[in-house]
């Protein structure tokens, strides 16, 4: 039993590890963009300027990966309290996995691809 692969146990640990990293990652992101620069001053030019520095792109990829996996797993935990039966639960797991994969891919494409001026 101890050596068996346990997804829920791994997910439980992941929530703690990622949370610990997310506190500096999200707070620095929020302080710079919303408090120092100011939400109403954000523009495509600003993002292009920030992403000219590759370190910020790496930072944003980390933020995206940790934040969204933490968030989607948390959403799964909440919804699982309201969904009964193994078939609906499997369906929900599949949907959330698909949504997580799709949005993470979209976000990563944006960060790696850079700013496209309309």
């Amino acid at each position: 039993m101890e050596n068996k692969f346990n997804f829920e146990g791994l997910a439980w640990k992941w929530m703690r590890y990622s949370a610990f990293l997310l506190i500096p990652l999200v707070w620095i992101h929020a302080i710079i963009q919303a408090l120092i620069v100011g939400g109403h001053n954000l523009s495509l030019d600003y993002v292009a300027m920030r992403w000219a520095i590759w370190g910020w792109r790496v930072y944003d990829i980390f933020l995206l990966a940790f934040a969204f996996s933490h968030g989607m797993n948390g959403l799964r935990q909440v919804l699982m309290d309201f969904v009964k039966g193994s078939r609906p639960r499997r369906l929900l797991n599949g949907l959330i996995f698909f949504a997580w994969l799709l949005l993470t891919a979209l976000g990563a494409t944006a960060v790696i691809g850079g700013v496209r001026m309309p």
Partner: protein
């Protein structure tokens, strides 16, 4: 287990869980709020058409930022409390005091953030 229980939403109003229950509830509400915000944040910027820029206009307003900052700061501090109590279960004896300490951290941090957001927002 959770799937066996049969408790309605309104039973929550009768059950007197006090501070820890309020923290649990706010953790869930703020968590769902953040994941919806981050999801729309990614979608709005991936397809920056009309709907995307409309969503961004809402996100950039200072009233909305007050809401997002409440969720993020509360979720982070409450999450830190959960991690600390998980790492040192002996501290669970003082879990009700932990809630008060938590609000003691939350209120000044949120106040500073709110002052900056409001003053920047009103300055244009």
């Amino acid at each position: 287990m959770a799937r066996e229980r049969n408790v309605g939403v309104f039973d929550g109003f009768i059950y007197r869980g006090g501070g820890p229950m309020l923290a649990w509830l706010l953790h869930r509400i703020s968590g769902i709020g953040i994941v919806v915000f981050v999801g729309l944040h990614i979608l709005a910027n991936a397809f920056n058409g009309q709907i995307g820029s409309a969503i961004n206009t809402v996100f950039m307003s200072w009233v909305f930022q007050l809401l997002v900052f409440f969720c993020v700061i509360f979720h982070a501090i409450n999450g830190l409390r959960i991690i600390i109590l998980d790492l040192w279960p002996a501290l669970l004896e003082h879990q009700r005091e932990a809630i008060w300490i938590e609000w003691g951290f939350f209120l000044p941090i949120y106040a500073i953030a709110a002052i900056v957001i409001i003053s920047k927002g009103l300055a244009g």
